[in-house]
Amino acid sequence: MRFLFKTGYEQDVRLFQHGGQVFSYGLLAVVLVLAPWWAGDYFMSQLHFIAIYSIVGFGLMMLVGFTGQISLGHAAFLAVGAYTEALMQAAGVPFVISISCAALFSAVAGIIVGLPALRLKGIYLAIATLAFNVIVEEIITRWESLTGGNSGKHLKPVELFGIKLDTDTSFYYLCLGLTVLCALACANLLRSPTGRAFVAIRDSEISASCLGVDLAWYKTMSFAFSAALTGVGGALYAHKLAFISPEQFTLFVSIELVTIVILGGIGFLHGAVLGSAFVIVLPQLISIAKDWLPGGLVPTGLQAVVFGVILILFIIFEPLGLYGRWLKVRTWFELFPFYRRGMFRRQKSYMKSERLR
Protein backbone atom coordinates (compact mmCIF):
# COMPACT_ATOMS: atom_id res chain seq x y z
CA MET A 1 0.00 0.00 0.00
CA ARG A 2 1.18 3.48 -0.84
CA PHE A 3 1.05 6.38 1.58
CA LEU A 4 1.33 9.85 0.15
CA PHE A 5 2.95 12.38 2.40
CA LYS A 6 2.00 15.85 1.38
CA THR A 7 4.61 18.48 1.91
CA GLY A 8 3.38 21.25 -0.36
CA TYR A 9 0.32 22.57 -2.09
CA GLU A 10 2.06 21.99 -5.44
CA GLN A 11 1.62 18.28 -4.87
CA ASP A 12 -2.16 18.39 -5.07
CA VAL A 13 -2.05 20.33 -8.29
CA ARG A 14 0.30 17.96 -10.08
CA LEU A 15 -0.99 15.82 -12.92
CA PHE A 16 0.73 12.70 -11.60
CA GLN A 17 0.42 12.21 -7.87
CA HIS A 18 3.28 9.80 -7.39
CA GLY A 19 6.11 7.95 -9.10
CA GLY A 20 3.96 4.87 -9.61
CA GLN A 21 1.61 6.81 -11.85
CA VAL A 22 4.49 8.25 -13.85
CA PHE A 23 5.75 4.72 -14.35
CA SER A 24 2.45 3.18 -15.39
CA TYR A 25 1.48 6.01 -17.73
CA GLY A 26 5.01 5.98 -19.11
CA LEU A 27 4.73 2.26 -19.76
CA LEU A 28 1.38 2.77 -21.46
CA ALA A 29 2.87 5.52 -23.60
CA VAL A 30 5.77 3.28 -24.68
CA VAL A 31 3.43 0.40 -25.51
CA LEU A 32 1.18 2.69 -27.54
CA VAL A 33 4.00 4.45 -29.35
CA LEU A 34 5.47 1.10 -30.31
CA ALA A 35 2.08 -0.25 -31.40
CA PRO A 36 2.91 -0.27 -35.14
CA TRP A 37 5.65 -2.78 -34.37
CA TRP A 38 3.61 -5.20 -32.29
CA ALA A 39 0.12 -4.79 -33.69
CA GLY A 40 -1.09 -6.29 -36.94
CA ASP A 41 -3.02 -4.38 -39.61
CA TYR A 42 -6.33 -5.34 -38.16
CA PHE A 43 -5.42 -4.40 -34.63
CA MET A 44 -3.97 -1.09 -35.81
CA SER A 45 -7.29 -0.24 -37.37
CA GLN A 46 -9.00 -1.03 -34.07
CA LEU A 47 -6.55 1.25 -32.30
CA HIS A 48 -7.47 4.08 -34.68
CA PHE A 49 -11.09 3.70 -33.75
CA ILE A 50 -10.35 3.45 -30.03
CA ALA A 51 -8.33 6.67 -30.18
CA ILE A 52 -11.03 8.50 -32.12
CA TYR A 53 -13.82 7.24 -29.90
CA SER A 54 -11.76 8.18 -26.85
CA ILE A 55 -11.64 11.80 -27.99
CA VAL A 56 -15.40 11.78 -28.45
CA GLY A 57 -15.68 9.95 -25.13
CA PHE A 58 -13.67 12.69 -23.37
CA GLY A 59 -16.05 15.26 -24.80
CA LEU A 60 -19.13 13.41 -23.70
CA MET A 61 -17.58 12.59 -20.34
CA MET A 62 -16.98 16.28 -19.62
CA LEU A 63 -20.64 16.93 -20.31
CA VAL A 64 -22.31 13.86 -18.82
CA GLY A 65 -19.81 12.72 -16.24
CA PHE A 66 -18.62 16.04 -14.92
CA THR A 67 -21.31 18.63 -15.62
CA GLY A 68 -24.22 16.25 -15.18
CA GLN A 69 -26.01 17.21 -18.37
CA ILE A 70 -27.28 14.41 -20.58
CA SER A 71 -26.96 14.42 -24.34
CA LEU A 72 -28.48 11.89 -26.70
CA GLY A 73 -27.45 13.93 -29.70
CA HIS A 74 -23.69 13.75 -29.80
CA ALA A 75 -23.67 12.01 -33.16
CA ALA A 76 -24.85 15.37 -34.51
CA PHE A 77 -21.66 17.07 -33.29
CA LEU A 78 -19.71 14.17 -34.75
CA ALA A 79 -21.46 14.89 -38.05
CA VAL A 80 -20.73 18.61 -37.88
CA GLY A 81 -17.05 17.85 -37.33
CA ALA A 82 -16.91 15.19 -40.04
CA TYR A 83 -18.69 17.24 -42.71
CA THR A 84 -16.70 20.38 -41.87
CA GLU A 85 -13.53 18.39 -42.38
CA ALA A 86 -14.77 16.77 -45.59
CA LEU A 87 -15.91 20.04 -47.15
CA MET A 88 -12.87 22.01 -46.09
CA GLN A 89 -10.49 19.37 -47.32
CA ALA A 90 -12.31 19.35 -50.64
CA ALA A 91 -11.85 23.12 -50.75
CA GLY A 92 -8.11 22.68 -50.22
CA VAL A 93 -7.92 24.05 -46.68
CA PRO A 94 -4.87 22.80 -44.71
CA PHE A 95 -5.61 20.14 -42.09
CA VAL A 96 -4.58 22.23 -39.08
CA ILE A 97 -7.13 24.89 -40.01
CA SER A 98 -9.86 22.50 -41.09
CA ILE A 99 -9.72 20.45 -37.89
CA SER A 100 -9.77 23.66 -35.84
CA CYS A 101 -12.84 24.73 -37.78
CA ALA A 102 -14.40 21.33 -37.17
CA ALA A 103 -13.95 21.94 -33.45
CA LEU A 104 -15.15 25.52 -33.73
CA PHE A 105 -18.30 24.78 -35.73
CA SER A 106 -19.18 21.89 -33.46
CA ALA A 107 -18.69 24.19 -30.48
CA VAL A 108 -21.09 26.69 -32.03
CA ALA A 109 -23.59 23.88 -32.57
CA GLY A 110 -22.96 22.90 -28.95
CA ILE A 111 -23.80 26.39 -27.77
CA ILE A 112 -27.04 26.30 -29.75
CA VAL A 113 -27.99 22.97 -28.15
CA GLY A 114 -26.77 24.23 -24.80
CA LEU A 115 -29.30 27.03 -24.77
CA PRO A 116 -32.31 24.78 -24.06
CA ALA A 117 -30.16 23.03 -21.46
CA LEU A 118 -30.38 26.15 -19.35
CA ARG A 119 -34.05 25.46 -18.85
CA LEU A 120 -34.35 21.71 -19.34
CA LYS A 121 -33.22 18.91 -17.09
CA GLY A 122 -32.90 15.17 -17.14
CA ILE A 123 -35.24 13.37 -19.46
CA TYR A 124 -36.45 16.59 -21.12
CA LEU A 125 -32.91 17.58 -22.00
CA ALA A 126 -32.36 14.07 -23.36
CA ILE A 127 -35.37 14.50 -25.64
CA ALA A 128 -34.27 17.96 -26.79
CA THR A 129 -30.79 16.71 -27.71
CA LEU A 130 -32.31 13.64 -29.33
CA ALA A 131 -34.43 15.93 -31.48
CA PHE A 132 -31.32 17.91 -32.39
CA ASN A 133 -29.69 14.71 -33.59
CA VAL A 134 -32.64 13.93 -35.82
CA ILE A 135 -32.69 17.47 -37.19
CA VAL A 136 -29.00 17.44 -38.08
CA GLU A 137 -29.31 14.00 -39.63
CA GLU A 138 -32.21 15.26 -41.72
CA ILE A 139 -30.33 18.40 -42.78
CA ILE A 140 -27.30 16.50 -44.01
CA THR A 141 -29.54 14.07 -45.89
CA ARG A 142 -31.57 16.79 -47.60
CA TRP A 143 -28.97 19.49 -48.25
CA GLU A 144 -27.59 17.57 -51.22
CA SER A 145 -25.81 20.49 -52.85
CA LEU A 146 -23.55 20.83 -49.81
CA THR A 147 -23.31 17.38 -48.27
CA GLY A 148 -24.03 15.13 -51.21
CA GLY A 149 -27.06 13.71 -49.40
CA ASN A 150 -27.24 9.95 -49.20
CA SER A 151 -24.48 9.52 -51.75
CA GLY A 152 -22.09 10.91 -49.13
CA LYS A 153 -18.69 12.54 -49.34
CA HIS A 154 -15.28 11.06 -50.00
CA LEU A 155 -12.18 12.18 -48.15
CA LYS A 156 -8.53 12.02 -49.10
CA PRO A 157 -5.90 11.07 -46.51
CA VAL A 158 -4.76 13.79 -44.14
CA GLU A 159 -1.97 16.03 -45.34
CA LEU A 160 -0.13 17.64 -42.45
CA PHE A 161 2.41 20.36 -43.32
CA GLY A 162 2.89 18.84 -46.76
CA ILE A 163 3.39 15.28 -45.48
CA LYS A 164 0.76 12.79 -46.57
CA LEU A 165 -0.41 10.66 -43.65
CA ASP A 166 -1.78 7.89 -45.84
CA THR A 167 -0.33 4.88 -44.04
CA ASP A 168 -1.90 3.17 -41.06
CA THR A 169 1.11 4.05 -38.94
CA SER A 170 1.23 7.76 -39.69
CA PHE A 171 -2.52 8.18 -39.23
CA TYR A 172 -2.23 6.24 -35.98
CA TYR A 173 0.31 8.71 -34.61
CA LEU A 174 -1.95 11.59 -35.58
CA CYS A 175 -4.89 10.03 -33.72
CA LEU A 176 -2.76 9.11 -30.73
CA GLY A 177 -1.25 12.58 -30.53
CA LEU A 178 -4.63 14.29 -30.66
CA THR A 179 -6.06 11.88 -28.09
CA VAL A 180 -3.25 12.70 -25.68
CA LEU A 181 -3.72 16.44 -26.28
CA CYS A 182 -7.46 16.20 -25.66
CA ALA A 183 -6.93 14.10 -22.53
CA LEU A 184 -4.46 16.68 -21.22
CA ALA A 185 -6.85 19.53 -21.98
CA CYS A 186 -9.62 17.76 -20.05
CA ALA A 187 -7.36 16.90 -17.13
CA ASN A 188 -6.09 20.48 -16.97
CA LEU A 189 -9.58 21.88 -17.05
CA LEU A 190 -10.65 19.54 -14.28
CA ARG A 191 -7.93 20.70 -11.91
CA SER A 192 -8.75 24.37 -12.41
CA PRO A 193 -11.71 26.56 -11.41
CA THR A 194 -13.72 25.82 -14.57
CA GLY A 195 -13.63 22.08 -13.98
CA ARG A 196 -14.62 22.53 -10.37
CA ALA A 197 -17.53 24.69 -11.46
CA PHE A 198 -18.66 21.86 -13.79
CA VAL A 199 -18.56 19.36 -10.94
CA ALA A 200 -20.39 21.82 -8.69
CA ILE A 201 -23.20 22.10 -11.22
CA ARG A 202 -23.37 18.31 -11.44
CA ASP A 203 -23.67 17.82 -7.70
CA SER A 204 -25.90 20.70 -6.68
CA GLU A 205 -26.96 23.48 -8.98
CA ILE A 206 -28.47 25.46 -6.19
CA SER A 207 -25.38 25.66 -4.05
CA ALA A 208 -23.18 26.14 -7.09
CA SER A 209 -25.08 29.27 -7.94
CA CYS A 210 -24.95 30.43 -4.31
CA LEU A 211 -21.17 30.15 -4.47
CA GLY A 212 -20.99 32.40 -7.49
CA VAL A 213 -21.02 29.86 -10.32
CA ASP A 214 -22.84 31.34 -13.29
CA LEU A 215 -24.98 28.34 -14.23
CA ALA A 216 -25.91 29.58 -17.69
CA TRP A 217 -22.34 30.39 -18.63
CA TYR A 218 -20.78 27.16 -17.39
CA LYS A 219 -23.48 24.89 -18.77
CA THR A 220 -23.12 26.52 -22.16
CA MET A 221 -19.36 26.29 -21.91
CA SER A 222 -19.57 22.63 -21.03
CA PHE A 223 -21.76 21.95 -24.05
CA ALA A 224 -19.42 23.93 -26.29
CA PHE A 225 -16.28 22.22 -25.01
CA SER A 226 -17.86 18.80 -25.22
CA ALA A 227 -19.07 19.47 -28.76
CA ALA A 228 -15.66 20.82 -29.80
CA LEU A 229 -13.92 17.62 -28.73
CA THR A 230 -16.59 15.59 -30.47
CA GLY A 231 -16.01 17.70 -33.58
CA VAL A 232 -12.30 16.88 -33.51
CA GLY A 233 -13.23 13.23 -33.13
CA GLY A 234 -15.67 13.61 -36.03
CA ALA A 235 -12.98 15.02 -38.32
CA LEU A 236 -10.67 12.09 -37.58
CA TYR A 237 -13.58 9.67 -37.91
CA ALA A 238 -14.29 11.03 -41.39
CA HIS A 239 -10.68 10.48 -42.40
CA LYS A 240 -10.62 7.02 -40.94
CA LEU A 241 -13.71 5.96 -42.87
CA ALA A 242 -12.66 7.96 -45.97
CA PHE A 243 -16.33 8.14 -46.85
CA ILE A 244 -19.13 9.69 -44.82
CA SER A 245 -22.86 9.61 -45.30
CA PRO A 246 -25.83 10.44 -43.05
CA GLU A 247 -26.09 6.79 -41.98
CA GLN A 248 -22.98 7.14 -39.87
CA PHE A 249 -24.52 9.79 -37.66
CA THR A 250 -27.81 8.25 -36.64
CA LEU A 251 -29.40 8.14 -33.24
CA PHE A 252 -27.92 4.70 -32.74
CA VAL A 253 -24.44 6.21 -32.86
CA SER A 254 -25.45 8.76 -30.22
CA ILE A 255 -26.61 5.97 -27.97
CA GLU A 256 -23.41 4.10 -28.64
CA LEU A 257 -21.49 7.18 -27.49
CA VAL A 258 -23.51 7.39 -24.28
CA THR A 259 -22.78 3.69 -23.81
CA ILE A 260 -19.05 4.47 -23.93
CA VAL A 261 -19.42 6.90 -21.06
CA ILE A 262 -21.62 4.69 -18.92
CA LEU A 263 -19.70 1.46 -19.48
CA GLY A 264 -16.38 3.20 -19.03
CA GLY A 265 -17.34 4.76 -15.75
CA ILE A 266 -19.15 8.03 -15.31
CA GLY A 267 -17.02 10.74 -13.78
CA PHE A 268 -13.62 9.33 -14.75
CA LEU A 269 -11.60 10.41 -17.77
CA HIS A 270 -10.07 6.93 -17.90
CA GLY A 271 -13.59 5.65 -18.32
CA ALA A 272 -13.84 7.27 -21.75
CA VAL A 273 -10.85 5.26 -22.99
CA LEU A 274 -11.93 1.99 -21.39
CA GLY A 275 -15.47 2.47 -22.66
CA SER A 276 -14.26 3.14 -26.20
CA ALA A 277 -12.07 0.07 -26.17
CA PHE A 278 -14.99 -1.99 -24.95
CA VAL A 279 -17.42 -0.63 -27.52
CA ILE A 280 -14.93 -1.23 -30.35
CA VAL A 281 -13.87 -4.71 -29.27
CA LEU A 282 -17.31 -6.03 -28.33
CA PRO A 283 -18.69 -6.31 -31.91
CA GLN A 284 -15.58 -8.30 -32.84
CA LEU A 285 -16.15 -10.66 -29.94
CA ILE A 286 -19.76 -11.02 -30.99
CA SER A 287 -18.83 -11.92 -34.53
CA ILE A 288 -16.31 -14.46 -33.24
CA ALA A 289 -19.01 -15.90 -31.01
CA LYS A 290 -21.31 -16.11 -33.99
CA ASP A 291 -18.92 -18.52 -35.70
CA TRP A 292 -19.12 -20.84 -32.72
CA LEU A 293 -22.90 -20.79 -32.54
CA PRO A 294 -24.83 -23.20 -34.72
CA GLY A 295 -25.97 -21.42 -37.89
CA GLY A 296 -29.70 -21.30 -37.28
CA LEU A 297 -29.38 -19.92 -33.78
CA VAL A 298 -27.89 -16.51 -34.58
CA PRO A 299 -30.53 -13.83 -34.56
CA THR A 300 -29.98 -10.87 -36.84
CA GLY A 301 -30.05 -8.18 -34.17
CA LEU A 302 -27.61 -10.00 -31.90
CA GLN A 303 -25.26 -7.05 -31.51
CA ALA A 304 -27.94 -4.58 -30.42
CA VAL A 305 -29.31 -7.11 -27.96
CA VAL A 306 -25.91 -7.83 -26.43
CA PHE A 307 -25.18 -4.10 -26.17
CA GLY A 308 -28.50 -3.49 -24.47
CA VAL A 309 -28.11 -6.34 -22.02
CA ILE A 310 -24.57 -5.32 -21.10
CA LEU A 311 -25.66 -1.72 -20.57
CA ILE A 312 -28.48 -2.77 -18.28
CA LEU A 313 -26.25 -5.14 -16.32
CA PHE A 314 -23.67 -2.42 -15.83
CA ILE A 315 -26.22 0.10 -14.63
CA ILE A 316 -27.57 -2.36 -12.10
CA PHE A 317 -24.39 -4.03 -10.88
CA GLU A 318 -21.57 -1.62 -11.58
CA PRO A 319 -22.82 1.95 -11.90
CA LEU A 320 -19.24 3.19 -11.86
CA GLY A 321 -18.45 1.21 -14.99
CA LEU A 322 -15.23 -0.48 -16.01
CA TYR A 323 -13.05 2.11 -14.32
CA GLY A 324 -15.01 1.73 -11.10
CA ARG A 325 -14.48 -2.03 -11.31
CA TRP A 326 -10.76 -1.48 -11.84
CA LEU A 327 -10.62 0.79 -8.79
CA LYS A 328 -12.18 -1.97 -6.72
CA VAL A 329 -9.79 -4.58 -8.02
CA ARG A 330 -6.85 -2.28 -7.31
CA THR A 331 -8.07 -1.55 -3.80
CA TRP A 332 -8.49 -5.28 -3.21
CA PHE A 333 -4.84 -5.84 -4.06
CA GLU A 334 -3.63 -2.81 -2.16
CA LEU A 335 -5.45 -3.75 1.00
CA PHE A 336 -5.02 -7.50 0.73
CA PRO A 337 -6.24 -9.26 2.82
CA PHE A 338 -8.32 -6.54 4.46
CA TYR A 339 -10.76 -5.63 1.69
CA ARG A 340 -14.35 -5.45 2.90
CA ARG A 341 -17.37 -6.04 0.71
CA GLY A 342 -19.14 -2.83 1.59
CA MET A 343 -16.21 -0.51 1.02
CA PHE A 344 -17.55 1.10 -2.11
CA ARG A 345 -21.18 0.95 -1.19
CA ARG A 346 -22.80 4.30 -1.61
CA GLN A 347 -24.46 5.68 1.43
CA LYS A 348 -27.92 7.02 1.17
CA SER A 349 -27.61 10.75 1.02
CA TYR A 350 -29.21 12.95 3.58
CA MET A 351 -32.30 14.90 2.78
CA LYS A 352 -31.59 17.67 0.35
CA SER A 353 -33.07 21.04 1.03
CA GLU A 354 -36.16 21.86 -0.90
CA ARG A 355 -35.45 21.98 -4.60
CA LEU A 356 -35.99 25.52 -5.68
CA ARG A 357 -35.99 25.03 -9.40
Partner: protein, 254 residues
Protein backbone atom coordinates in the same frame (compact mmCIF):
# COMPACT_ATOMS: atom_id res chain seq x y z
CA UNK B 1 -23.79 54.24 4.28
CA UNK B 2 -25.66 51.25 5.48
CA UNK B 3 -24.04 47.85 5.15
CA UNK B 4 -27.02 45.64 4.54
CA UNK B 5 -30.61 46.69 4.56
CA UNK B 6 -33.91 45.07 3.68
CA UNK B 7 -36.80 47.41 2.99
CA UNK B 8 -40.45 46.37 2.91
CA UNK B 9 -39.51 42.95 1.57
CA UNK B 10 -42.43 40.74 0.61
CA UNK B 11 -43.25 37.66 -1.42
CA UNK B 12 -46.47 35.87 -2.10
CA UNK B 13 -46.92 32.40 -3.54
CA UNK B 14 -50.37 32.56 -5.08
CA UNK B 15 -52.62 33.57 -2.23
CA UNK B 16 -50.09 32.76 0.49
CA UNK B 17 -48.16 35.73 1.77
CA UNK B 18 -44.94 34.12 2.98
CA UNK B 19 -43.09 37.31 3.85
CA UNK B 20 -44.98 40.51 4.34
CA UNK B 21 -43.41 43.94 4.44
CA UNK B 22 -40.33 42.99 6.48
CA UNK B 23 -37.64 45.62 7.01
CA UNK B 24 -34.43 45.35 8.98
CA UNK B 25 -30.88 46.57 8.86
CA UNK B 26 -27.71 44.64 9.60
CA UNK B 27 -24.75 46.70 10.77
CA UNK B 28 -21.22 45.85 9.74
CA UNK B 29 -19.55 43.50 12.18
CA UNK B 30 -22.57 42.29 14.13
CA UNK B 31 -24.41 39.00 14.44
CA UNK B 32 -28.04 39.52 13.54
CA UNK B 33 -30.45 36.67 14.10
CA UNK B 34 -33.90 36.04 12.74
CA UNK B 35 -36.06 33.82 14.92
CA UNK B 36 -39.63 32.68 14.62
CA UNK B 37 -41.84 29.60 14.81
CA UNK B 38 -42.03 27.12 11.91
CA UNK B 39 -43.36 28.65 8.73
CA UNK B 40 -42.60 32.19 9.85
CA UNK B 41 -40.75 32.87 6.59
CA UNK B 42 -37.18 32.86 7.88
CA UNK B 43 -35.64 30.68 5.20
CA UNK B 44 -37.79 32.42 2.60
CA UNK B 45 -36.09 35.68 3.53
CA UNK B 46 -32.74 34.00 2.95
CA UNK B 47 -33.89 32.73 -0.42
CA UNK B 48 -35.07 36.23 -1.27
CA UNK B 49 -31.70 37.68 -0.30
CA UNK B 50 -29.96 34.99 -2.35
CA UNK B 51 -32.28 35.97 -5.24
CA UNK B 52 -33.45 32.38 -5.54
CA UNK B 53 -36.99 33.76 -5.38
CA UNK B 54 -38.01 36.99 -7.06
CA UNK B 55 -39.33 39.38 -4.43
CA UNK B 56 -42.93 40.52 -4.93
CA UNK B 57 -42.20 43.81 -3.24
CA UNK B 58 -39.46 45.70 -1.47
CA UNK B 59 -35.75 46.20 -1.90
CA UNK B 60 -32.56 44.55 -0.70
CA UNK B 61 -29.66 46.96 -0.37
CA UNK B 62 -26.11 45.75 0.10
CA UNK B 63 -23.46 48.42 0.51
CA UNK B 64 -25.96 50.86 -0.98
CA UNK B 65 -26.37 48.72 -4.07
CA UNK B 66 -29.72 47.26 -4.91
CA UNK B 67 -29.52 43.47 -5.26
CA UNK B 68 -32.94 42.77 -6.68
CA UNK B 69 -32.71 42.06 -10.39
CA UNK B 70 -29.23 40.51 -10.36
CA UNK B 71 -28.63 36.88 -11.32
CA UNK B 72 -28.23 34.62 -8.23
CA UNK B 73 -24.52 34.03 -8.76
CA UNK B 74 -23.85 37.78 -8.63
CA UNK B 75 -24.87 37.80 -4.98
CA UNK B 76 -21.97 35.52 -4.12
CA UNK B 77 -19.61 37.54 -6.27
CA UNK B 78 -20.48 40.63 -4.26
CA UNK B 79 -19.42 38.86 -1.08
CA UNK B 80 -22.53 37.31 0.39
CA UNK B 81 -22.19 33.61 1.22
CA UNK B 82 -24.77 31.28 2.67
CA UNK B 83 -25.30 27.84 4.13
CA UNK B 84 -28.41 25.74 3.82
CA UNK B 85 -30.68 24.35 6.45
CA UNK B 86 -30.46 20.83 5.06
CA UNK B 87 -26.91 20.97 3.75
CA UNK B 88 -26.25 21.29 0.05
CA UNK B 89 -22.72 19.98 -0.34
CA UNK B 90 -21.08 18.46 -3.39
CA UNK B 91 -21.36 14.92 -2.14
CA UNK B 92 -19.09 13.10 -4.55
CA UNK B 93 -16.20 15.42 -3.89
CA UNK B 94 -13.77 15.57 -1.00
CA UNK B 95 -13.96 18.18 1.72
CA UNK B 96 -10.99 19.96 0.19
CA UNK B 97 -12.66 20.07 -3.23
CA UNK B 98 -15.84 21.39 -1.68
CA UNK B 99 -13.97 24.24 -0.06
CA UNK B 100 -12.07 24.92 -3.28
CA UNK B 101 -15.34 25.48 -5.12
CA UNK B 102 -15.96 28.14 -2.52
CA UNK B 103 -12.97 29.96 -3.99
CA UNK B 104 -14.79 30.28 -7.28
CA UNK B 105 -15.43 33.98 -6.98
CA UNK B 106 -11.70 34.60 -6.61
CA UNK B 107 -10.71 32.83 -9.80
CA UNK B 108 -8.42 34.87 -11.98
CA UNK B 109 -7.64 32.57 -14.87
CA UNK B 110 -9.29 32.22 -18.26
CA UNK B 111 -10.43 29.04 -19.98
CA UNK B 112 -7.52 29.12 -22.44
CA UNK B 113 -4.94 29.39 -19.71
CA UNK B 114 -6.60 26.55 -17.85
CA UNK B 115 -6.63 24.27 -20.89
CA UNK B 116 -2.82 24.37 -21.09
CA UNK B 117 -2.39 24.88 -17.34
CA UNK B 118 0.03 27.79 -17.57
CA UNK B 119 2.36 28.62 -14.65
CA UNK B 120 -0.08 31.41 -13.78
CA UNK B 121 -2.88 28.90 -13.29
CA UNK B 122 -0.58 26.75 -11.20
CA UNK B 123 0.30 29.68 -8.95
CA UNK B 124 -3.36 30.65 -8.61
CA UNK B 125 -4.26 27.06 -7.69
CA UNK B 126 -1.60 26.92 -5.02
CA UNK B 127 -2.83 30.25 -3.64
CA UNK B 128 -6.41 28.90 -3.52
CA UNK B 129 -5.19 25.88 -1.60
CA UNK B 130 -3.35 28.05 0.88
CA UNK B 131 -6.48 30.08 1.51
CA UNK B 132 -8.59 26.95 1.90
CA UNK B 133 -6.07 25.35 4.22
CA UNK B 134 -6.43 28.28 6.62
CA UNK B 135 -10.14 27.58 6.85
CA UNK B 136 -9.48 23.87 7.35
CA UNK B 137 -7.25 24.85 10.27
CA UNK B 138 -9.78 27.30 11.63
CA UNK B 139 -12.63 24.79 11.62
CA UNK B 140 -10.43 21.84 12.60
CA UNK B 141 -11.29 19.86 9.48
CA UNK B 142 -7.75 18.58 8.84
CA UNK B 143 -8.72 15.02 9.74
CA UNK B 144 -11.35 14.81 7.02
CA UNK B 145 -9.85 17.06 4.37
CA UNK B 146 -9.44 14.25 1.83
CA UNK B 147 -12.60 12.31 2.72
CA UNK B 148 -15.57 12.21 0.39
CA UNK B 149 -18.51 14.15 1.79
CA UNK B 150 -20.82 11.14 1.21
CA UNK B 151 -19.09 9.30 4.00
CA UNK B 152 -19.19 12.06 6.61
CA UNK B 153 -21.56 12.31 9.57
CA UNK B 154 -24.15 15.06 9.65
CA UNK B 155 -22.38 17.23 12.21
CA UNK B 156 -19.17 17.33 10.22
CA UNK B 157 -21.05 18.15 7.02
CA UNK B 158 -22.55 21.12 8.74
CA UNK B 159 -19.05 22.38 9.53
CA UNK B 160 -17.86 21.66 6.01
CA UNK B 161 -20.70 23.74 4.65
CA UNK B 162 -19.76 26.58 6.97
CA UNK B 163 -16.18 26.20 5.73
CA UNK B 164 -17.27 26.34 2.13
CA UNK B 165 -19.15 29.57 2.76
CA UNK B 166 -16.09 30.98 4.52
CA UNK B 167 -13.88 29.96 1.61
CA UNK B 168 -15.66 32.54 -0.54
CA UNK B 169 -14.12 35.12 1.82
CA UNK B 170 -17.47 36.84 2.31
CA UNK B 171 -18.33 40.14 3.91
CA UNK B 172 -21.77 38.92 4.90
CA UNK B 173 -22.43 35.34 5.91
CA UNK B 174 -25.95 33.95 5.94
CA UNK B 175 -26.33 30.91 8.18
CA UNK B 176 -29.55 28.98 7.87
CA UNK B 177 -30.04 27.13 11.17
CA UNK B 178 -26.37 26.40 11.87
CA UNK B 179 -27.21 24.23 14.87
CA UNK B 180 -30.07 22.14 13.50
CA UNK B 181 -29.28 18.47 13.79
CA UNK B 182 -26.21 19.05 15.96
CA UNK B 183 -25.71 17.61 19.42
CA UNK B 184 -25.10 20.01 22.35
CA UNK B 185 -21.34 19.64 22.08
CA UNK B 186 -21.32 20.40 18.37
CA UNK B 187 -23.69 23.32 18.95
CA UNK B 188 -21.21 24.65 21.47
CA UNK B 189 -18.42 24.46 18.88
CA UNK B 190 -20.64 26.21 16.39
CA UNK B 191 -21.23 29.04 18.85
CA UNK B 192 -17.48 29.43 19.32
CA UNK B 193 -16.94 29.56 15.61
CA UNK B 194 -19.67 32.11 15.03
CA UNK B 195 -18.11 34.31 17.71
CA UNK B 196 -14.68 33.85 16.13
CA UNK B 197 -16.01 34.58 12.67
CA UNK B 198 -17.34 37.86 13.96
CA UNK B 199 -14.35 38.82 16.09
CA UNK B 200 -11.34 37.47 14.25
CA UNK B 201 -12.45 37.26 10.65
CA UNK B 202 -14.53 40.43 10.87
CA UNK B 203 -17.41 38.90 8.94
CA UNK B 204 -20.94 40.11 9.55
CA UNK B 205 -23.32 37.24 10.24
CA UNK B 206 -27.01 37.11 9.49
CA UNK B 207 -28.50 33.93 10.82
CA UNK B 208 -31.72 32.02 11.21
CA UNK B 209 -31.80 29.93 14.36
CA UNK B 210 -34.15 28.14 16.73
CA UNK B 211 -31.82 27.29 19.58
CA UNK B 212 -32.35 30.24 21.94
CA UNK B 213 -29.24 29.39 23.96
CA UNK B 214 -27.11 29.79 20.89
CA UNK B 215 -29.05 32.87 19.82
CA UNK B 216 -28.64 34.71 23.10
CA UNK B 217 -25.03 33.71 23.32
CA UNK B 218 -23.83 35.00 19.96
CA UNK B 219 -26.34 37.53 18.63
CA UNK B 220 -26.09 41.26 18.98
CA UNK B 221 -29.60 41.84 17.77
CA UNK B 222 -32.58 39.64 17.06
CA UNK B 223 -35.58 39.99 14.80
CA UNK B 224 -38.64 37.87 15.53
CA UNK B 225 -40.98 36.89 12.72
CA UNK B 226 -44.37 35.30 12.80
CA UNK B 227 -46.45 34.38 9.78
CA UNK B 228 -44.19 36.50 7.58
CA UNK B 229 -44.58 39.61 9.69
CA UNK B 230 -41.85 41.17 11.83
CA UNK B 231 -43.13 41.31 15.41
CA UNK B 232 -40.14 42.37 17.50
CA UNK B 233 -36.58 43.58 17.15
CA UNK B 234 -33.91 44.25 19.74
CA UNK B 235 -31.33 42.51 21.92
CA UNK B 236 -31.89 38.78 22.53
CA UNK B 237 -33.24 39.43 26.02
CA UNK B 238 -35.64 42.14 24.86
CA UNK B 239 -37.03 39.99 22.10
CA UNK B 240 -37.41 36.95 24.31
CA UNK B 241 -39.42 38.98 26.79
CA UNK B 242 -41.58 40.67 24.18
CA UNK B 243 -45.25 39.76 24.70
CA UNK B 244 -45.90 39.26 20.98
CA UNK B 245 -43.01 36.80 20.72
CA UNK B 246 -44.28 34.82 23.69
CA UNK B 247 -47.69 34.83 22.09
CA UNK B 248 -46.32 33.59 18.77
CA UNK B 249 -44.52 30.67 20.38
CA UNK B 250 -46.84 29.74 23.22
CA UNK B 251 -50.20 31.24 22.22
CA UNK B 252 -52.15 34.06 23.84
CA UNK B 253 -53.51 33.71 27.38
CA UNK B 254 -57.23 33.03 27.33
Amino acid sequence: MSFFKVENLGIRFGGVVAVDNVSFEVKRGEVFTIIGPNGAGKTTIFNLIGLLYPASSGRILYEDRELTGFAPHRVAELGIARTFQNIELFEHATVLQNLLIGRHRHRSTSLWQELVFTPGVRRAEVAHREAVEKIIDFLELAKVRDTLVVGLPYGVRKVVELGRALATDPKLLLLDEPSSGLNPEETDDMAFWIEDIKKHLGITVLMVEHDMNLVSRVSDRVLALNMGIAIAEGTPAEVQAHPKVIEAYLGAPV
